[in-house]
């Protein structure tokens, strides 16, 4: 019945339905009419593709982060008051990560949030390393709120921050010394030989500790340094591999 009443759909009708077509909300006879038309009309297909492309670009835009002082400024200009502690609703689960962000904020103020596709393991390592730099101790790890949600939330920010470290030699030296600390703190669990660890806190090519024996010789010779010097050998392979790649990305960006 309906098919007899409605003649075949025209291009201008398709254009009028474009928003619904992209929403995927066309139904019944209208949907059938549109599908029949687009099969034989290249110009309508091109029009739909173009509009869909624009929609996809827009939807890929992330929400922008408002300045930290925006709420404060608004309140100061309206009720003339600073945000009171009790009325500010803090999101649940705000823990060490937020505190860490606050602590690191002055150092990383100009850093935006580009995204690199990297492993979750690396993000986790980045976080633990950042915490070490910020003065947290590796041995306290059981007290942190290491929920997967919290880690995921900070995933991109954390890895971007770590990338920036490598852009700055000063930071590399800081990391080297912190990694050494982390390694010391982490070693007793892995080695079950705390006694020996205390006597030989850093790897020494002439007196290799047990943990050093597990590494292939050539790598140790290439990267390990003497006692008290920066210890690049403790970086996981994934980290070392990621550094040149990140630099490459930045150079082309």
């Amino acid at each position: 019945m309906a098919g007899e009443i409605h003649s075949e759909m025209q291009c201008n009708q398709v254009e009028a339905l474009l928003a619904e077509i992209l929403d995927g909300t066309l139904q019944g006879e209208t949907l059938k009419g549109f599908e029949t038309h687009q099969q034989s009309c290249a110009s309508c297909r091109a029009m739909i593709d173009e509009a869909r492309a624009g929609m996809n670009w827009l939807e890929a835009l992330d929400e922008a982060e408002p300045p930290r002082n925006l709420v404060h400024n608004i309140l100061a200009q309206t009720i003339g008051a600073l945000p009171s502690e009790h009325a500010v609703v803090k999101p649940r689960g705000e823990g060490w990560l937020e505190r860490l962000k606050g602590r690191l904020a002055p150092m990383f103020a100009p850093i935006a949030t580009p995204r690199f596709a990297m492993s979750f393991g690396m993000a986790f390592f980045s976080i633990t390393m950042l915490l070490g730099i910020a003065g947290f101790h590796f041995a306290d790890v059981r007290h942190w709120d290491l929920s997967s949600k919290g880690i995921r939330r900070s995933y991109y920010e954390a890895q971007v921050r770590v990338m920036r470290y490598y852009e700055n030699v000063r930071w590399v030296y800081e990391i080297e010394s912190r990694v050494r600390d982390l390694r010391r703190a982490g070693a007793p669990d892995q080695n079950a030989q705390p006694q020996q660890q205390q006597e030989a806190p850093a790897p020494n090519p002439k007196n290799p500790s047990k943990s050093d024996n597990r590494r292939p010789g050539p790598q140790r010779q290439n990267y390990s340094r003497g006692n008290g010097e920066p210890v690049l050998a403790t970086f996981p392979a994934v980290m070392l591999a990621a550094i040149p790649q990140a630099r490459q990305n930045r150079r082309t960006a």
Partner: protein, 199 residues
């Protein structure tokens, strides 16, 4: 519906002089308002100033909010949009209007958006996610006429339905849809060559 009732109660408390209620409204809506201002004006600094002005205006006119005519969200968006239109009509943000007149190829390095995207040599997914792409789409959005820009911002960035957008813009739903379509299409043309490569 529950959300609407909750926010309406919050507004009533605020109108009766409850500062904590106002503070909560600011907390709840500042991201949305800031983002609309940011994408419309194209500048983070302007967005910060504009968002503050929106809240000052809201604070003064909160008692005129009529729960029977629109949701609070729609009202907030309307206040924001009207303030933006007002500012850009008065030419307070002239340099932005200037940039709208610039041709897409007028970049300082002489490359089009698409060429700049292709230069990166990234995979399609990486391109969409990269910050450079975010920047280019943001710039392309700025080049749309204000009418088309506000329509796609409310639809594709703020996820509003056509009926609410029609209320905010004070035009029929058919006009809203047509502006959204044209806005998306024009944006795609600005970024087109890259899109074809990506597919």
């Amino acid at each position: 519906m529950d959300d609407n009732q909750a926010v309406n109660a919050l507004v009533r408390r605020c109108v009766s002089g409850d500062a904590a209620a106002w503070q909560e409204i600011v907390q709840q809506y500042h991201r949305r308002i800031y983002n609309i201002c940011y994408r419309f004006s194209g500048s983070a600094d302007d967005a910060s100033d504009l968002a503050q002005e929106v809240f000052i205006k809201m604070y003064r006119t909160l008692s005129t909010f009529d729960t029977t005519r629109a949701s609070f969200m729609t009202w907030v968006t309307t206040v924001t949009r009207n303030l933006l239109v007002d500012h850009f009509r008065k030419g307070k943000y002239d340099r932005i209007t200037d940039s709208l007149d610039a041709a897409p190829g007028d970049q300082e390095d002489g490359l089009t958006f698409a060429e700049r995207l292709e230069d990166k040599g990234l995979s399609p997914e990486a391109r969409v996610r990269s910050q450079e792409t975010q920047k280019l789409v943001h710039e392309a959005l700025r080049r749309l006429s204000p009418e088309l820009r506000e329509a796609v911002i409310l639809r594709d960035l703020q996820d509003m339905d056509y009926k609410d957008i029609a209320k905010v813009l004070n035009v029929p739903e058919g006009t809203v849809k047509s502006r959204i379509n044209r806005g998306r299409t024009e944006l795609a043309r600005l970024l087109q060559r890259n899109y074809k490569q990506a597919n």
